[in-house]
């Protein structure tokens, strides 16, 4: 070896494999405005569609007059439910086993519901057209409050199913009832509560919010009459599933449907489902023979396509006087809006909400969820969380704080006392999950030491005294949250969407010069897959990440996969990538053994090639092996170097973390300042620490937005408020707190590279940390639970309800 031979460190560094803070390769185009999004797709002769929407929350549609609209210059067609009935598409199936109107069929069930689709030569003409469509409505009484949905005299919302006693998830108790889902041992839990020394019970609500990605939902549909083929460019988080759904409902052979997800400007769950816009654009293209584009505007996005949360959780915890939890009982009233369009795995009507025992060793628990219809937009998506996991984490983390307050115990101490212990993993929870790995005590202790938790509590005690003496009008809150996520859906034994098992996939093809292409069934919406997927391959097979092109989103070229949401990409596709890479490596080893004239077993892997054991100078690099694979493979071996893997995970992964938030609130104005936010995440093996940090920053910012302001609110008449960024709180850099990030590493024992997923943890763990900080600030004044969002006004209202607000004296 001469001096030019790179050192081991240099060889490692050149790969930019796992653990490297590799810069995001996709940012080269994004930061220069050179991304290619759906709205950048412009086809010759393309038409534009736009919706007439209902001003009413609940009304009968008496007549739709399209005559004037058809006279607007540029307007070519107005599609209504009647048109769609001719192709049997007035209604569409939802992912949750319900059906949903594509266009109002006789009645509207929420404000801004799609009533008619105007197709025109440009967007302006389409908008003029929708203003010229005359719709005659007969208003009906709206049902807004989910707690009144099952009242005996509640208005009937879904006339199509009002007499059906069974839904997709079992018996229905009322015409506005969708399902009841129960998990756990009711009798044992009742006993635990009867015997309990201490119990708490509180209604903890998680308000309706919206994922609000920067890019709204949109598509371009182009039907080729000659070939009978339909091409759809869309903002799809799960392009392959969309293609299958289209094949099933449009009755087109699947190979004649091409679904392409180009660059996507954020999804956060908003782009998992199928929306009327997609169906209408496809039908319009089939009818007109021209490509049709549909692009949602901001208000349409916030008020129609897929809200999140809207869970009302009555939470009870039983415990001993010493603070050992002995039972958990939760009843959820789930407001699903007008149609059950939740994007959950099919057998899970409340997602994985049964992770609600959290990080604690509950000997017994019982959960019941009732889903109901209301006159609100459908949805119920997983807004940057695994299915209903954010709701569950909020429920238990608020519950634990409320219990700590009742026991007069420090909330961190209560958590430490009840954590699942390291030696209990794999841990079987009372509600049926098998947690793969965790070390909660280490994470919590590290968090507490880093922020000087004891010092913060001392400061808080002093400031509370000062407040009581009238020396300050500021109160200080410390919010503790310790979450356990359940991500990586999922094992085919319990996870499917419309019968399609939730595996994921990867195809890797290396070319003779030692570079290659890798394709997956997932689809990045900003997560940086092009960067991290190549890093996994780099480490696994010793080809520099820069030499691997990652491609996703085209159903013609990518292997079938279930897409990206629920933090499933790394746990599922990430595993498929490693497994495909290992198949390549196995073949490479045979080629190397032949070339080096040794037995395969005499070779050992060394960063970027194979070395003969005990003979360090006998080495063959992967780059050379690629050449040999094509040009002189061993006799009897097929040339080429490629592999495919479809990965059906044996279990979910369970990332966790400890978050601490310190906040000061001015009671006179309700204005808060987040003084400090510390987030420790354990996502197992860390592929790219910089991307993890970016994901945590983004997720925490969303958590901050949700806890401190976001709300899609409906007034009593069912008018949707907060449907624009004026009112729907999207923090800017000015409002966003400074984030401190940290980590521990507890690899997943069942995942090929030990990675668990991280994208959603900060949203899941962040919301309770903020909310607990606000609640903790007020707790010494006798407050037990204040509902989110904790905006300035609500904080002031909380202070006022506690008698803390004085009016200025007039004389």
């Amino acid at each position: 070896m001469n001096d030019m031979t790179p050192t081991r460190e240099e060889r490692e560094a050149r790969l930019e494999g796992m653990g490297c803070k590799r810069k995001r390769v996709e940012d080269i185009r994004f930061t220069q405005g050179k991304g290619n999004y759906v709205d950048d797709v412009k086809l010759p002769g393309m038409l534009h569609g736009d919706f007439v929407r209902s001003p009413h929350a609940h009304a009968r549609v008496k007549a739709i007059n399209t005559e004037a609209a058809l006279k607007v210059p540029g307007v070519l067609a107005v599609i209504t439910a009647e048109t769609l009935k001719t192709v049997n598409l007035a209604w569409m199936p939802t992912l949750a086993g319900d059906v949903q109107m594509v266009l109002a069929d006789g009645k509207v069930l929420f404000q801004n519901q799609e009533v008619a689709f105007v197709v025109a030569t440009d967007r302006y003409a389409a908008d003029d057209g929708i203003n010229a469509v005359e719709v005659e409505y007969e208003p009906l009484p709206p049902l807004v409050d989910p707690f009144k949905a099952m009242a005996p005299d509640a208005p009937v919302l879904r006339e199509d199913i009002k007499d059906k006693s069974d839904g997709a998830h079992g018996p229905r108790k009322h015409y506005n009832h969708i399902f009841e889902w129960t998990v756990g041992d009711k009798d044992l839990t009742d006993v635990a509560f009867r015997k309990a020394e201490v119990t708490i019970k509180e209604l903890i609500s998680y308000q309706r919010v919206h994922p609000s990605p920067l890019e709204t939902c949109q598509c371009v549909c182009s039907f080729d009459k000659i070939k009978g083929e339909l091409t759809i460019w869309g903002t799809f988080q799960a392009p392959h599933v969309i293609r299958t759904v289209v094949a099933l409902i449009a009755k087109l052979p699947e190979q004649k449907i091409h679904v392409i997800s180009p660059d996507i400007g954020g999804g956060f769950g908003n782009k998992v489902g199928a929306y009327p816009g997609y169906i209408c654009a496809a039908v319009a293209s089939i009818v007109t023979g021209k490509p049709v584009k549909w692009v949602e505007d901001r208000m349409e996005n916030l008020t129609t396509t897929s809200f999140a949360r809207d869970y009302h959780m009555t939470t009870e915890i039983a415990a001993t006087k010493e603070g050992k939890v002995t039972g958990l009982r939760v009843h959820v009233l789930a407001d699903h809006g007008a149609f059950d369009a939740c994007a959950d795995p099919s057998k899970w009507p409340a997602g994985f909400f049964n992770i609600v025992t959290g990080s604690y060793d509950f000997p017994t628990a019982h959960l019941a969820v009732d889903g109901v219809y209301t006159n609100k937009a459908p949805g119920g998506v997983a807004y940057r969380c695994s299915f209903r996991v954010t709701e569950a984490a909020y429920c238990i983390e608020r519950g634990m704080d409320i219990l700590a307050q009742k026991l007069n115990m420090d909330p961190a101490e209560l958590r430490l006392k009840n954590f699942v212990r390291p030696e209990q993993f794999p841990y079987h929870s009372a509600l049926g999950w098998e947690y793969d790995s965790g070390d909660y005590h280490t994470a919590m202790t590290k968090a507490m030491e880093t922020v000087d938790y004891a010092g913060l509590r001392r400061e808080q005690a002093a400031r509370r005294e000062a407040f009581k003496r009238g020396e300050t009008r500021e109160i200080m809150g410390i919010g503790v949250s310790f979450f356990t996520e359940i991500v990586g859906a999922g094992p085919s034994k319990n996870c499917d969407i419309l019968g399609i098992a939730m595996f994921d996939s990867c195809e890797i093809r290396l070319h003779p010069t030692g570079a290659g292409i890798a394709r997956m069934g997932t689809k990045s919406q900003g997560q940086g897959h092009e960067t991290t997927w190549a890093q996994i391959i780099a480490t696994e097979i010793g080809i520099p990440a820069d030499n691997i092109m990652v491609e996703e989103g085209n159903t013609d070229t990518a292997p079938y996969g279930l897409g990206t949401y629920g933090s499933r990409s790394t746990p599922v596709a990430g595993a498929a990538i490693a497994m495909a890479a290992r198949k390549i490596k196995a073949k490479a080893q045979m080629i190397a053994a032949y070339k080096l004239e040794v037995h395969e077993d005499d070779l050992e892997w060394d960063i970027d090639g194979f070395r003969v054991k005990g003979l360090p100078e006998k080495f063959l690099g992967m780059k050379d092996i690629c050449w040999l694979a094509y040009n002189s493979p061993p006799p009897g071996m097929e040339p080429g170097l490629e592999a495919v893997s479809y990965y059906d995970p044996p279990n979910m992964t369970y990332p966790f973390g400890a978050y601490i938030c310190v906040m000061d609130i001015d009671v006179d104005t309700g204005v808060y300042k987040v003084r400090r936010f510390y987030a420790l995440d354990d996502c197992g093996t860390r592929i790219n620490p910089m991307i993890i940090e970016g994901q945590v920053h983004g997720g925490l910012t969303e958590a901050f937005a949700i806890a401190m302001g976001q709300e899609i609110h409906y007034d009593e008449a069912g008018n949707v408020l907060g449907g624009s960024f004026m009112d729907f709180f999207l923090p800017t850099a000015v409002e966003t707190p400074h984030w401190e990030t940290d980590f521990t590493v507890t690899p997943s024992p069942h995942h090929p590279i030990g990675a668990k997923g991280v994208g959603e943890s900060p949203n899941v763990g962040g919301v309770p940390a903020f909310s607990n900080a606000v609640n903790d600030a007020f707790s010494f004044l006798g407050s037990v639970h204040i509902q989110m969002p904790h905006d300035f006004w609500r904080n002031w209202q909380a202070a006022k309800d506690l008698g803390l607000i004085r009016e200025p004296a007039a004389a």
């Binding site: 302006y124 908008d127 203003n131 006179d668 907060g722 009112d727 300035f792 607000i805 004296a809």
Partner: protein, 287 residues
């Protein structure tokens, strides 16, 4: 979110603009920075048939001193105000208020004339103009007239502007050297209109308030001049009791709407607090 059809005019002189306004009548709207009007048009809450863009009229832009007044041309942007040395020296409260309006992008285009002529109770400049005792110069085919800011606002989006009239300038008496000023604005986030805001311009003599004017933003259908509140502090050293009296007097005239920013109770309460904070800060700045 797409505006309807309209015709676009870009006159080169004020006379031409006034003539267009007069002949096109109620169907015409002046277009300045467009940052209030165009959002309304996108929602089709405003559907003017004609837009008369004032951007091509050089005479409407600029800041000049006219004796003991400062005259600001209608199409002077909020950014221009922030960059102006004469404004920094004579009317620093305008810079404090401008900085609390929207964000830099909006301030590059949004104009002082548009901000005060718009008639939206959420606009920040009207209350500041009231506190400064400014007049607005209005011009139509029939000639020019001046209306005090304090008399200009009649209801939400209703002002003293007659059909066919344009607002050409705001005319502000230069406050005495050593005056104190403050604009206190509570908002939910950058770019938001006020939950409540108060503008104060005062002078002090011997540790006591000598003169004082208080304007209020977004606490009623129109911007408010809080006379009684100002009277409550004149002659005092702004002790706690006088501050409370001023707040109570200001709150008595507030009639805020319920919206996403809060309940009327809340907005009135924080309105009182904005008044007290603005008074204290203004007094601390006065010499």
């Amino acid at each position: 979110m797409i505006p309807g059809q309209f015709d676009y005019h870009r006159p080169a002189s004020l006379a031409e603009a006034v003539h267009l306004m007069a002949t096109l009548g109620e169907d015409a709207r002046a277009l300045a920075g467009g940052h209030s009007l165009i959002p309304m048009m996108k929602l089709r809450l405003a559907t003017p048939a004609h837009l008369i863009d004032l951007g091509g009229i050089g005479a409407l832009k600029g800041i000049r001193r006219d004796g003991d007044h400062i005259v600001i041309g209608a199409t002077t942007t909020q950014h221009d105000l922030l960059a102006s040395a004469p404004i920094a020296e004579a009317l620093p409260v305008l810079q404090e208020a401008s900085r609390l309006i929207a964000d830099p992008q909006v301030r590059y285009l949004g104009t002082i004339g548009g901000n005060v002529a718009n008639g939206d109770p959420g606009n920040d400049m009207p209350a500041v103009m009231m506190a400064l005792g400014a007049n607005y110069r209005l011009e139509g085919e029939g000639g020019a007239r001046e209306v005090p800011a304090a008399e200009f606002y009649q209801g939400a989006y209703f002002t003293a502007l007659e059909p066919g009239e344009l607002l050409t300038a705001v005319v502000i008496p230069v406050p005495p050297a050593g005056h104190g000023f403050a604009y206190e604005k509570l908002k939910r986030k950058v770019g938001d209109y006020a939950t409540a805001a108060a503008a104060v311009v005062l002078t002090m003599a011997g540790g006591r308030v000598a003169t004082c004017r208080i304007g209020l933003t977004n606490l009623a259908e129109v911007p408010l001049l809080a006379d009684a509140a100002a009277q409550a502090v004149i002659g005092t050293d702004l002790d706690d009791a006088s501050l409370q009296r001023a707040a109570a007097a200001a709150m008595a005239i507030m009639q805020p709407a319920a919206d996403g920013r809060g309940s009327p109770d809340y907005r009135r309460h924080v309105g009182g607090i904005m008044v007290q904070r603005a008074l204290k800060r203004a007094a601390a700045r006065a010499s």
